[in-house]
């Protein structure tokens, strides 16, 4: 009954958002259709280069960076098709008077939207005067937001942030109302310093910072849904246990210790609880749920087997997927958040690990080794149809999928180019696979929720 209700609500929401969209902009909506591999029906946008307002080197360099980041963000959004610059009319497009609509809607370019503007760097400020035009809507040509003056500090970080903000605004405006993920972050484990530590980077691999420097073994980062806190496993006090740090200022938060192997924390979608695995009460790891400070732990599984890697349904918070070898090999199960109604999801055998529930609650990504001699690959299980869709193949081991908050992307670790590194891709498995890390062995990516900055 409850599921029916949720299903109904989802349908209503979908219809509403489609209706709203259709009224404002009668263009084809891009929808991620990850299951059927129909490809992205991207809205076509022209993105001529922003022009520097001055000729100094710094302005030129930051303008170039802004243009690169904006292009990259839009291209990777999964929503848009960027028209190649080689088809653009010749000229510089800074002010509304520079843009002749017919030049951009002509068959050669055939764009439905155009973004353009200029970059100014002075007084310690980076500012981009940015416009997004709907070329097919003469009544409401300029779309606000995202058309605005984007002001940040005059650094590479500032130029990146301004581009990310504008890109997120464009994606939200013409991508069906789902926010872009250009300002999200990815936590991961790297041994680049000699020991496994937690690091945090931008979603595109830039601006990498170490979160921990414990010189121990530190694993399994997990974000609170507000993007403020990261829970993880560390051996720094002996047996592996869960700790929590603020992403912003690295402030520690207490998570009550209880001994045993305690690992794989996962935040509930409301941020109030953490599901995790621990062997504190017995001879194997079981799934527990506790308040996010570790108090009031409640055991959900009772089984003489490994039970590990819980993942909440982020849409409802009512279900938890997890891995168990109760049937012999590690397999994927779902239970209600109270520990009842346990059911196995993948029936085909092999070795299944690391479930990650999509933000809309409809799919569970996981890693699957179908036979002992095959590699791990990323799949997702569509809960409505029961189908398993393979997203990677013939490219080393591909493990630990993690969803972007828009549900359009997955990050994962892969040995496709040698040592383990973090990659990201569109959640339908198509398009470019981006390598986000290069240094050391990098594993266990965890994609943050939306972060406002």
């Amino acid at each position: 009954m409850k599921r029916l209700l949720i299903f109904g609500l989802t349908i209503v929401l979908l219809i509403c958002s489609r209706g709203l969209y259709a009224r404002v902009r009668p263009v084809q909506q891009s929808q991620i259709d990850a299951g059927t591999k129909n490809g992205i029906l991207g809205v076509k946008i022209a993105v001529p280069e922003f022009q520097p307002a001055a000729t100094d080197d710094k302005t030129a360099a930051l303008t170039t960076l802004f243009n690169q980041v904006l292009w990259s963000d839009l291209e990777f959004s999964g929503v848009l098709t960027l028209v190649s610059r080689s088809f653009y009319p010749i000229g510089k497009f800074v002010n509304p008077g520079d843009v002749t609509v017919e030049d951009w809607t002509a068959p050669a370019v055939d764009a439905q939207f155009i973004s353009f503007g200029s970059v100014r760097v002075d007084g310690g400020r980076f500012s981009a005067e940015a416009r997004l035009w709907d070329l097919k809507n003469p009544q409401n040509r300029e779309i606000k937001p995202p058309s605005a003056l984007y002001r940040t500090e005059d650094s590479e970080q500032g130029a990146r942030l301004a581009a990310h903000r504008f890109a997120d605004g464009i994606v939200e405006a013409i991508g069906g109302g789902i926010k872009g993920v250009a300002r999200t972050k990815i936590a991961f484990v790297s041994d680049r310093s000699g020991s496994k530590e937690i690091y945090v980077m931008d979603y595109d691999g830039n601006d990498v910072h170490a979160l921990t420097l414990y010189k121990s073994i530190t694993l399994t980062p997990a974000w609170s849904s507000d993007g403020e806190k990261i829970a993880f496993t560390t051996y720094r006090r002996g047996t592996p246990d869960i700790e929590i740090l603020s992403r912003v200022d690295r402030r520690p938060y207490t998570f009550q210790r209880a001994g045993g192997t305690t690992t794989t924390p996962a935040w509930s979608p409301d941020g109030g609880k953490i599901a995790f695995a621990t062997s504190r009460d017995g001879s194997d790891t079981e799934i527990y749920v506790a308040d996010w400070n570790g108090r009031n732990p409640r055991r959900l599984t009772v089984n003489k087997a490994v039970d590990i890697s819980p993942a909440w349904n982020p849409k409802t918070g009512n279900e938890i997927a997890f891995v168990s070898n109760r049937d012999g090999t590690p397999q994927l199960y779902i239970m209600d958040a109270e520990g009842t109604n346990v059911r196995r999801i993948i029936e085909d055998g092999g070795s299944v690990s690391n479930p990650a529930w999509s933000p809309d609650g409809q799919r569970i990504a996981f890693q699957w080794q179908k036979s002992r001699t095959s590699n791990f690959d990323i799949y997702f299980h569509d809960l409505a149809t029961g189908k398993n869709v393979q997203l990677t193949q013939d490219a080393g081991d591909n493990e630990r999928p993690t969803w972007s908050p828009d549900g359009r992307h997955l990050a994962f670790e892969s040995t496709r180019r040698g040592a383990s590194n973090i990659f990201s891709m569109l959640a339908n498995g198509e398009g470019e696979v981006r390598q986000l890390t290069q240094t050391g062995k990098n594993t266990a990516p965890a994609w943050s929720g939306y972060i406002d900055n």
Partner: protein
Amino acid sequence: MTVSGRTKIAVLLVLVSALLASSCKKQVAAAPPPPPPPVAPTPPPPAPTITLRAQPATIDRGQAATLQWEARNAANVQIEPGLGAVTATGNRAVNPTSSVTYTARATGPGGEATDTARVTVNIPPTPPPPPPPRPPAPPVVRMDDLFRDNVLDVFFDYDKADIRPSDMSTLQKNAAFLRQNGNVRFTIEGHCDERGSAEYNLGLGDRRANAAKEFLVQQGIQASRINVISYGEEKPICREQNEDCYMKNRRAHFTYNP
């Protein structure tokens, strides 16, 4: 007074006469004849002489001293030790490493003469002698060594945490040692090969360590003596990607807790 005066003069005269007479007798006795000159014999060959000196007489080790000698009436001069036959007069630098007495011997027709000179060599304080070799290990055997030699790893099949029948005797021997050493506390580490997810392997390693613990407890080892930790695939002892290596990594390893 007149009479006595005459007497005195007479006595005085007698005394003077007597004195004079005695002096005359003496003069005669002091005039003997001179002795005859000696007859000159054939002169014998002169006896050799030699002097030997060391300058300086005291040196530090490594420095030199000069021996100087002068012999007369010698046909042959020898200085020992070390110099052998030398000229009658000369000097020579010597560099003895320890104190020594040089003897110079001069021989000639007139006989032989010797002289000695000592050179004292100061030996500088030697660097402190190397510490005496460590005393041989005390016969007491250290418990961690004993533990390492007697409590052996057990191994697991792929993706399994069951004690293999072939490993039960190892665990029984481990238990026997641990029963005999009832104060020993220890940790069982559970390890996995790199296949499977790192998270699942944390759980699997935990199961393996606990399987070994349960076996020991059944053998009478108190559970309170045993600490358990899973390292999953984080601490392989072998890093190649082949079954030989994987096999070595799938283990329960025992460490002594001092």
